[in-house]
């Protein structure tokens, strides 16, 4: 028979009281520190170490990736507009530049370019490079190249198309410094390979022979190195030289033609979305927009993979911390079986005891996450300020680059908290199985 007077009671106040005591007060109680250390501090440390490592490693990786992207975007356009198919060229058109500028409000600058592979010959050796022809003013607006030019007083604007034509510098001074040749900017690494330096004369030799008076022969153009740049990107520093667009057009016999148009955006991370807009608008012209993410797909994929791999490893560290929650709580269930049986005998339900252990696991996780986050952020303050000799080349006079991603940290914290509750499920089931009669009775029967 089921009597209506047999009512349920709420043990919530008791659970809060028990939890507070088991987590906090027992820590301070005399003679129980060892127990409290095993029951609370060790799993807290386990979780904290994992969260701390996650915070530090991902933030430093984020800093490195941000630096890398910054360098990449400093020398590369956010979007390149090229012909849709093949390696054809775009006809020179001011109207096209104006139109591209107006397609999206995020487009802040456009710059036509013409590029080709050439052989560059110094007095000592030759090498193959990519010759970029750019319009100095427009190119400076698209590529943040000024930061990387290591020769004082030199920029895209000082590049000479023909001797003495473009520079504001008095002709006599310039002539004595550079001679009467067009000039170019070359990467420091490329100059090192060529055993050349700023002011040296080089010869550009086309890879496609042209028909001249004496039959088929490669076009040659003497030039002078006006300045050097160092971007930190090996590809650019060893393989790229810049010259005036008009010079390259003349050299390649491609007057009135561009390889494409470079586009700068107000927000580089929006490149894929803006590229889609441009693609729709330029489809009829047979052109397509290629965002920087497509040009660097392999690199970005590798970075993403590295990040996923690192996150996986760090989650494993947190998982190990969670296992320590399971182990210590299971041990606590064994050690406190009699107390749990007493609580059952005075009216606490099975589910209340289970809930108590889930709360205990969750609380340990919460404390661990808090300790891990705080210590991780403090550690980041240190590593970002203290210069390290191993990164001296890349980051002279400063510590590791750091970019704290709060959404990532929130996700890690929540994930760790949930894992710590999951880790308490087994102990919770164990404590719910305690039979008060078996446990409290001396003889079991």
């Amino acid at each position: 028979m089921h009597d209506k007077t047999l009512k349920g009671s709420s043990g919530f106040a008791a659970i809060v009281f028990l939890l507070k005591r088991y987590l906090v007060s027992s820590w301070t109680a005399r003679g129980r520190r060892v127990q409290a250390t095993a029951g609370v501090a060790l799993p807290v440390i386990g979780i904290a170490v994992g969260v701390c490592a996650f915070t530090v490693v991902l933030s430093v990786m984020g800093g490195f990736v941000q630096g890398l992207k910054k360098r990449l975007l400093g020398v590369e356009p956010h979007i390149e507009i090229v012909v849709r198919e093949g390696f054809g060229r775009v006809s020179e058109s001011q109207e096209l530049l104006d139109r591209i500028s107006k397609i999206s409000k995020h487009v802040v600058a456009v710059s036509p370019f013409l590029k080709t592979d050439v052989i560059v010959q110094s007095s000592r050796k030759p090498m193959t490079v990519v010759l970029w022809g750019v319009e100095p003013q427009r190119a400076e607006a698209v590529m943040k190249f000024a930061n990387y030019i290591s020769t004082p007083g030199v920029s895209f604007r000082t590049l000479e198309q023909d001797a003495f034509e473009m520079s504001d510098e008095p002709k006599s001074e310039r002539s004595s410094r550079l001679g009467s040749f067009p000039t170019l900017l070359a990467g420091e690494k490329a100059l090192e390979i060529l055993s050349a330096e700023v002011g040296n004369r080089l010869t550009l030799i086309s890879t496609q022979p042209d028909e001249g008076l004496g039959g088929m022969a490669p076009t040659q153009q003497p030039v002078v190195v006006e300045g050097a740049f160092q971007t930190g990107s090996v590809t650019h520093d060893s393989k790229v030289v810049f010259a005036r667009l008009a010079l390259v057009q003349k050299f390649m016999n491609a007057q009135g033609e561009w390889s494409g148009v470079q586009v700068a955006l107000d927000e580089p991370l929006d490149a894929e979305r803006v590229a889609r807009e441009l693609n729709v608008a330029l489809a009829a012209d047979g052109l397509r927009a290629k965002p920087w993410t497509e040009s660097n797909k392999a690199l970005l994929k590798a970075l993403r993979l590295e990040r996923w791999g690192m996150s996986f490893v760090l989650y494993m560290v947190i998982l190990v911390g969670c296992f320590s929650i399971t182990i210590t709580l299971v041990l606590a269930v064994r050690r406190k079986a009699r107390e749990m049986a007493i609580l059952r005998s005075i009216g606490l339900r099975r589910v209340d005891l289970g809930f108590l252990y889930l709360c205990k696991g969750g609380s340990i996780g919460l404390i661990g996450v808090f300790v891990g986050l705080v210590s991780g952020l403090l550690l980041l303050q240190v590593v970002s300020r203290v210069p390290l000799s191993i990164i001296e080349d890349a980051y002279p006079g400063r510590g590791l680059p750091v970019l704290v991603s709060w959404p990532d940290l929130v996700a890690v914290s929540l994930g760790s908290f949930v894992l710590s509750i999951v880790a308490a499920v087994w102990p919770a089931i164990e404590v719910m199985r305690i039979d008060p009669v078996e446990t409290l009775s001396d003889r079991g029967v």
């Binding site: 007077t5 047999l6 919530f12 005998s345 009216g347």
Partner: protein
């Protein structure tokens, strides 16, 4: 006469008049059997036990070890369930409800005192006494007054904030008795409450049970090996091999 706390008056009314169903016996045990299966072997701990305890009565259950007296006590207190038969406490059958309802029954209607005091070592005497009240969801204000009254009543006025490890066995058992009474149960069950105490402390505990029975009119059922204690109580049930062999009143 003992001083009374504000909550004590209302509480003892419950015990005396009987919460649950008025007019019903405090305990009614009818044809209760308990069989433990140990592999293929079956051990019959209780072989059809029938008896009643009226409200306010004090009963000693005696018998040799293994006679089934502790098993019977656990079943009356809903810590264990019978294989067959019926048990009612204050007219209420605790074995046909959910774990929530059985727990509520243990919390509100029965108070347990074990051979070992079974106090929670992380909690002071006062907090140990409060615990069943907290589980019942009663207000702290009401509980504080009741716990203080009960601890004074069992003679531990100066030991309220002491932890079990700082108290003697007799004092711990007094705390356990106070804890058993915090929710003013219909029935106080004690399993060898003085079994671990020296004779002086045991005598104190025995007289305390008698006083509490008189003061609060709480029905008391005690399992004991102590003949003096058993004979001091008005009713004595003797068990052997899972059966009641004698039921005598003074």
């Amino acid at each position: 006469m003992f001083e009374s706390a504000p909550s004590e008056h209302a509480a003892s009314k419950n015990a005396a008049s009987g919460g649950l169903f008025r007019g019903t016996p405090a305990v009614s045990v009818s044809g209760v059997r308990k069989v433990y299966a140990m592999g293929e072997v079956q051990l019959e701990a209780l072989a059809g036990v029938t008896f009643q305890v009226e409200r306010g009565e004090s009963v000693a259950i005696v018998g040799e070890s293994g006679s089934g007296k502790s098993t019977l006590l656990h079943i009356i207190g809903a810590l264990d369930s019978p294989t067959a038969g019926e048990v009612r406490v204050g007219g209420l059958d605790p074995f046909h409800g959910s774990d929530l309802q059985v727990s509520h029954f243990r919390n509100r209607h029965v108070g347990f005192v074990f051979q070992h005091s079974n106090l929670l070592p992380e909690f002071s005497a006062f907090e140990n006494v409060l615990m069943p009240g907290l589980i019942a969801g009663r207000s702290l204000q009401e509980l504080n007054a009741r716990a203080e009254f009960l601890l004074k009543r069992v003679g531990l006025t100066k030991r309220m904030q002491h932890y079990p490890g700082q108290m003697s066995g007799g004092e711990q058992q007094r705390v356990a008795i106070a804890r058993a009474l915090i929710n003013d149960p219909v029935l106080l069950l004690a399993d060898e409450p003085s079994g671990n105490l020296d004779s002086a402390n045991a005598a104190n505990i025995h007289s305390l049970f008698a006083e509490l029975n008189q003061d609060f009119k709480t029905t008391v059922v005690v399992v004991t090996h102590n003949q003096d204690f058993a004979q001091s109580l008005p009713r004595r049930i003797e068990m052997r091999d899972g059966r009641i062999v004698s039921d005598s009143r003074l």
